[in-house]
Symmetry: C2
Subunit: 395 residues, 2 copies
């Protein structure tokens, strides 16, 4: 009488986890320093000192004020601080009523989908895509469908997108900067996407929402065109997390910002509150809400990620890999040296290189490297990658 | 194209919230000290000093260790600390594998229901019951049905229960100590319940789970028979929150403990992880997990609740109310002085008494007082209650 749906989910072991486990086993043998672990997207830089200082300050608050129930829609002053920051940075006009604090970007995407779909509806996303979108969406009763990638640029494959559009599509989910490709959608891409969505809305006679998952927004490299998506499409729900910007992945804090240009923006936020209530989650912790409001415009020192990207992009290209240069994140997504990405990554394991095959991201024949690792380790890994490519593939 | 289900939920304004809002308006006029606010179940005693000390200690931890991702099923050492504490206190044999940290007891109940039901199944609970069970269960697709109260004792009405049992019942949800009655189910009640569940399992040929919601477990008054429910029924999922014991309601931290006597206990915990994953919640915050592990056997000074209960039970009885004496919590649930509880509470509002009518708890003609307020205020409220009863109802 146990739920068959969730029993099945327990059986689908994540590919990334299998690799991480193999790596951990190997690390026990030869030491973690000697394993080139590019498998996991865990921030590798500490939170800024202001996070520690704020935590001490909060701990000294009157306990009932600090630890009391948050209102269903979040603490007002926190929602206002988020709105103000977005308005300052992106020239938007959010008010507190358009902001809903969530359990990271994961909670944000899961809520956004539940608010604008019913079971049987379709949500479209673009390969390569973050595989956790599958459980976020499929457990809601809606169905995630994946538009094939434009592997030349990892921008959007608009031809394939238009072919897959139909009247069941209620929402389109994008992730920019993108996990796993590291690509940032250009202003041109976002404008074209907005145009098509507007055309399709008219054709189908119903709203289509754009869910923009942006946990990597603060990790954008020099001179990259990185538009604020909601500026280009009224029905945009922006999903954000402080996991990467403040290196707080375990603290589960983020938000959804609903574009105030959408006429029912405040109603959507009210609905998020009801979705949260139904799953017994209610709000993120009061303490983390207060924390991020105090640190709203700060980030960890994220410069290491660009440094690592520069090294990897240059060296992988030199070695002979085909790579699209990332514009942000801490991921790079080169083409594998054989068509079977799983076989390729298994062979790399023998060189103590932990790479993630691309199949679960919806693209065959590539691999993801999460370069949220110390730069000295990136440098040490280059000759190993070179040796692997030469010995196994003769390049 | 917005979800009709959640739009409808935004329209159902909570009765408790309406009263609290009326009270807030009145407080603005005459000062909060002069409003006798018995409406909200917010802890009124601060967290123990150990909570503050632990927060400072955690803030000084290495940030990446403190704020890193928690494993899907929670931090091992935290799960172990919870299991050990339960084993010490209640003679159980939990291991870490039987413990799942949740976003309070709310998250615990919502997960427990989703693991053991499919859409269309029935969950039974007993009046009076916590009205938030409705959204927790009904949004899962299962249906909550409420067994009428035994208003003489607020123990279980077994006759009504047996009549409502049928093969669609997959889980029974109890709340002891009970919100709103303050009653603690006796050992006799739990034993009888376990017997019936075992009989019904055999009759229907499937498991029936007992979901025991116990956020008030640490608020049990002197000499009250308060059995640990899971000792009496193998298929028990115990749902707990630190909201009341450590006065941390806004920090959303609790757990589900699955009785290890149930053969698939660890599988259930794995399934909880998948349920959490689907809604993008993942785990409670790392910081709160570490906090409660450090403070696992501590509580706030909860003695004020018993002091308030003693005053209210004695005085309400003296004034002429019919009251069942609470065995725990910070609630009391007297019979109203007219059959229409809403009318009764509206009349009380004119005396600046904020009482909650019983209808949403599944029992007519009663009212709930949440006496998590300062004792001096309880004392000042007595002559007001007396005047109200005399002037309006002539008693």
């Amino acid at each position: 009488m146990l739920s068959e749906q969730y029993i099945q989910m327990t059986k689908q072991k994540s590919v990334i986890r299998n690799i991480a486990e193999a790596g951990a086993k190997r690390a026990a043998e030869i030491g973690y320093d000697n394993v080139f672990d590019y498998s996991l997207g865990n921030p590798s830089v500490p939170s800024p000192e202001s996070v520690r200082n704020t935590l001490h300050k909060l701990a000294d608050m009157e306990p009932m004020a600090l630890h009391g129930y948050s209102p269903t829609l979040g603490i007002s002053s926190v929602r206002e601080a988020i709105a103000d920051s977005l308005n300052r940075r992106f020239g938007m006009e959010y008010a507190a009523a358009h902001i809903f604090p969530t359990s990271g970007a994961a909670g944000a995407v899961a809520h956004a989908v539940r608010a604008v779909t019913k079971p049987g509806d379709t949500v479209l996303t673009f390969a390569p895509f973050f595989p956790e979108y599958m459980p976020y969406i499929n457990t809601s009763g809606a169905e995630l469908k994946v538009v094939p990638a434009d592997t030349a640029s990892f921008q959007i494959n608009f031809e394939a997108f238009e072919e897959m559009c139909n009247e069941n599509v209620m929402a389109v989910l994008i992730n920019t900067p993108n996990n796993p490709s590291g690509i940032v959608y250009t202003t041109e891409t976002i404008k074209r996407l907005a145009e098509i969505l507007t055309e399709k809305e008219q054709a189908y006679g119903h709203d289509i929402f754009l869910i923009s998952d942006e946990p990597y927004r603060e990790i954008i490299f020099s001179d990259v065109d990185a538009p604020y998506v909601a500026k280009y499409y009224d029905k945009t729900m922006t999903c954000y997390s402080f996991s990467k910007s403040l290196s707080l992945p375990g603290e589960r804090i983020g938000y959804i910002a609903v574009n105030p240009a959408y006429e029912h923006a405040a109603l959507l936020v009210d609905m998020f509150g009801q979705i949260s209530r139904g799953i017994g989650h209610n709000c993120p912790t009061s303490m983390m809400q207060y924390l991020i409001a105090e640190c709203i415009d700060e980030t960890s020192d994220l410069s290491v990620y660009e440094e690592n990207k520069n090294i990897l992009y240059k060296e992988l290209t030199r070695i002979g890999f085909s790579v699209v240069e990332p514009g942000g994140t801490f991921y790079i997504f080169p083409k594998a040296l054989e068509s079977d990405a799983v076989a390729f990554c298994n062979k790399a394991l023998k060189y103590d290189l932990l790479l993630v095959p691309s199949d679960s991201f919806g693209v065959p024949g590539h691999f993801r490297m999460a370069y949220c690792v110390p730069t000295e380790k990136v440098l040490r890994s280059i000759p190993v990658i070179e040796r692997f490519a030469k010995e196994v593939y003769g390049i």
